[in-house]
Amino acid sequence: MALSTLTYAQAAALAVGEAMLRDDSVVVLGEDVGRGGIFQQYKGLQEEFGAHRVIDTPISESTIAGSGVGMALAGLRPVVELRVIDFALCAMDEIVNQAAKNRFMFGGQGRVPVVLRMPIGLWGSSAAQHSQSLEAWFAHLPGVAVMCPATPQDNYTLLSQALCGEDPIVYLEHKELWGLQGPVDHADMLPAGRARVLRTGDDLTMVSWSAAVHVAQAAAEQLAVEGVQASVIDLRTLWPWDRHTVIADSARTGRLLVVHEAVQVAGFGAEVAATAAQHCGCQVSRVGAPRIPVGYAPTLEAVSRLKPDKVVRAARELLANHPRPRLK
């Protein structure tokens, strides 16, 4: 019903605040969340709900994530703030061996509805330990769902859904999207596992997620000027992911280009490309970062940064190498 214009950070705060109002088992824990979090994605929540529900914690990533698991087992629904995905690496046992395994390993006795927020991606001039996109690590991990919102709408929609489910959710906002403004329709509850088709073209299918969606869209606009019509699909969630939409559109265009910011080697783009090729015989290509740590100097960082030009070049190559789409 209500339609508002919000930033990506405000949309997140709205989703958590609404969940805390309707469900008193929802709590937030993490470093500096009381002041709203370093990206202001928890702004106003401690004032509204108190320090006992928006809990400032020590810099103890293992225990932030591990106590999230214990809280969930004992009946709470914790939102665990890990600041950036690079720091979540200090809590890998708690995420991989504990949160993700608990339900299966203990025979379904318990549920771990914990939302693990760990923003991914470049964050201007933050260098190698604050710039990584590690979503493929978690897509590879049975027992968790993986969400990568690209817009304020989806940060509201997916976070709201994450706070209603019974799974551990690896929730991957992008560090450079916090200020992005956009419309948020409160009634839009497109489920996890369903992609959004942002534009439809006949020449190729572009699939992306997180901040790279905006790069893919810009590339599609440039291509349109050249007379090349591309579909752009925002996957939104990597597990589960919308194979049907990707396969159907790739079968129609005959060409699939997966676009992501993460390192291309063994990235989730490989999974998308291989699945589509296997199911519809389309031609596939990928664009991602080279396999290097992100450098500090602007000239070095730029090598890892995904730009529309790079996507346009990859699309042109795909079209040149496969001039006639094979339809199936």
């Binding site: 709590v27 006992h52 529900r53 809990i55 914690t57 020590p58 103890s60 293992s62 225990t63 994530a65 591990g66 106590s67 999230g68 698991v69 214990g70 809280m71 969930a72 087992l73 004992a74 009946g75 709470l76 914790p78 046992d93 708690e94 061996n97 504990q98 608990n102 339900r103 299966f104 390993m105 203990f106 025979g107 379904g108 006795q109 318990g110 049975p142 027992g143 968790v144 769902a145 489910g165 019974e166 799974d167 551990p168 959710i169 996890a192 596992g193 969630t237 597990w239 589960p240 992911w241």
Partner: protein
């Protein structure tokens, strides 16, 4: 008082009998030192038994209520039994059968019975400490009168989560009893050769958690200290640490022949056996021998029944491998 000690004795005897039966059923079941596992073995894979350490589980768990929660280490059969889990379903779990408490998905290292508040053994050293903090935090936030007991070994105090969890529990004044079950061995290494400083109690004190050491092979001493500390924790006075010094009698795994250990070290472990000590004490203070013999007979029957129950239960069907993984994105994706 004697009735209480008889109950502690019964719990220890149950744990010992369970461990011995599991050990027997696991012979040949793990591939080590050039030998491959025997596929006919009932209990397969790594089995960590707590023979000689029963007084810690019995003494602490006797002071817990059913609604209290518990986390454990990889050596967790004793804690699970003492917390009230069914021996039949535990044995079936070790056998990997569908009637096991985890439906055969976990085995020895992940034994758990949430229905009695036992939130799981753990294959990762010190991994239970942060989970225990969260469970205790939840109890406190929900205003429930229960506490969490968190068992871990002496090796765990050298992992980061130990420091994090004790600091955390103290900062938030959580209803949490840390129990360091110190069997002096970190797998195949003496823990004291790898641990700096004056020990776990001093580390706890430095983090603001009052800690107390006790002879972990004296079940009365353990249970009396646990009674006091559980009361303080339950009374809202924040976390406490109980350091129970015991001995590991068997190897790290049941298949471990302990060639690295001096004979006198093993002898010392056996001489202080908590069960024979308690038995002697009960006989000296007037408990009739036939009462103890009756307990031992009951326990032997219980173990026989557990073995028969486990044997009769089917292995889980392969399709169970796809169940209870997750809800979103569940299914047979490859």
């Amino acid at each position: 008082m004697t009735a209480d000690l008889v109950n502690l004795y019964r719990t220890m005897v149950r744990i010992r009998a369970f461990e011995l039966a599991a050990e027997q059923a696991s012979a040949g079941g793990v591939a080590v030192w050039g030998q491959s596992a025997d596929p006919r073995t009932k209990v397969r894979g790594p089995l960590h038994v707590s023979i000689g350490q029963e007084a810690v589980a019995a003494g602490v768990c006797a002071r817990l209520q059913r609604e209290d929660l518990l986390t454990s280490s990889h050596r967790g059969h004793g804690h699970t039994l003492a917390k009230g889990a069914s021996m039949q379903r535990m044995m079936a779990e070790l056998f990997g059968r569908s009637d096991g408490c985890n439906g055969g998905r976990g085995g020895s290292m992940h034994i758990a019975d949430f229905s009695v508040g036992m939130l799981g053994a753990n294959g990762v050293v010190a991994a239970g400490l942060p989970i225990a903090c969260g469970a205790a935090h939840a109890l406190k936030l929900r205003g429930q009168p229960h506490i969490v007991a968190c068992f871990f070994g002496d090796g765990a105090v050298n992992r980061g989560p130990f420091l994090e969890a004790l600091n955390w529990a103290c900062v938030y004044q959580l209803p949490l009893l840390f129990v360091c079950e110190d069997n002096r061995w970190s797998a195949t290494s003496r823990t004291d050769t790898l641990t700096a400083g004056p020990g776990v109690v001093a580390r706890a004190q430095a983090l603001g958690v009052a800690g107390f050491a006790v002879d972990g092979n004296d079940v009365q001493a353990v249970s009396e200290l646990a009674r006091r500390l559980v009361a303080e924790v339950r009374g809202g006075h924040g976390p406490r640490l109980l350091h129970a010094v015991t001995w590991r009698v068997r190897g790290h795994l049941s298949a471990d022949q302990q060639g690295y250990r001096a004979p006198e070290d093993i002898a010392a472990a056996t001489e202080t056996d908590p069960i024979s000590r308690t038995r002697q004490h009960l006989l000296h203070t007037g408990t009739p021998q036939q009462d103890l013999a009756a307990i031992e007979e009951q326990v032997a029957n219980e173990v026989r029944n557990a073995l028969a129950f486990a044997e009769a239960s089917p292995l889980p069907h392969a399709h169970q491998a796809f169940n209870e993984v997750q809800t979103l994105g569940a299914g047979t994706w490859h």
